[in-house]
């Protein structure tokens, strides 16, 4: 365990001054001027401005979701179901171009 004397608990003024001088940076004025300009540009934004900033990202995301949804529906689109193939005799008979023999036979069997 490091033994820390009472002197180690207080800042070392001489070392502190030397360190501040060693680490001092030039061009203080230009730095502050640049920062002030940046701060003015990037005013703290309210929620409405934050949401407004997300507007176009939101529109883009919604459009992308719509496109992907459409594509997915087309890919997954179920082929004609058996129910479609098994239309009632009455419906099939309504189609003048398609009175298949099976329909006619079924219809006749029903009449009997």
């Amino acid at each position: 365990m490091t033994d820390l004397s009472h002197n180690e608990m207080a800042p070392d003024a001489e070392l502190g001054v030397a360190l501040r001088e060693a680490l001092a940076m030039p061009h203080e004025g230009p730095f502050v001027t640049r920062m002030r300009a940046l701060v003015r540009q990037q005013r703290a934004r309210g929620w409405d401005e934050v949401l407004a900033g997300w507007f176009w990202q939101g529109v883009l995301a919604a459009s992308l979701a719509a496109v992907l949804g459409t594509v997915a529906l087309r890919v997954l689109e179920v082929p004609a179901t058996p129910a479609v193939n098994e239309e009632s005799v009455a419906v099939q008979l309504l189609d003048a171009e398609r009175p298949g023999t099976d329909v006619l036979m079924t219809a006749m069997a029903g009449i009997r």
């Binding site: 490091t2 820390l4 180690e8 608990m9 800042p11 070392d12 001489e14 070392l15 502190g16 030397a18 360190l19 501040r20 001088e21 060693a22 680490l23 001092a24 940076m25 030039p26 203080e28 730095f31 502050v32 640049r34 920062m35 002030r36 940046l38 701060v39 003015r40 990037q42 005013r43 703290a44 934004r45 309210g46």
Partner: protein
Amino acid sequence: MTGVDDSDLALRAAEGDPEAFGELVARHAPMARRVAHAVLGNEQDADDAAQEGFLSAWQAIGRYDVRRAFRPWLMQIVVNAARDLRRRRKVRTTEPLEFVAATSRDNPAREVGALDLGDKLKEALATLPERQRLAVVLFDAEGYPQSEIAKMLGIPEGTVKSDVFHGRRALRKVLESVKEEWDD
């Protein structure tokens, strides 16, 4: 705005006053840049980190608790910005530190006595681990209490004490050697 204290300025900044925040920048820029310089080891990166730190503080000013002192709150943000930048530019930032460390070894004209105190201190700082460097700079150069430094760096207060102790030992040797030269 010289008579206005930091908390009042921060309050006005939180209400969206960029001039109030600009005044805070002017007050604390020297310290923020020095601390960033201690972390990064070169002036250009230090300025980038200080700038990022101030802009982050500006964006987060609405969350600043006015019951707390402003300076440590700001400095924690600047320290984090400097550490982030150091991680991002690891290759770049190690170069100057290695260069500084090699200088006195490779160039006899730059042996002890040929460099000024500032250069020697920066050389010695470059040899310290980042946490020790920060602890000793924040404590001795910037005057933060060790409890506050512990919160800033997210480490126990005992660790700060130990880091200050070890960091000082290396830096004091440099200081003493330069003083001896001056006496001669």
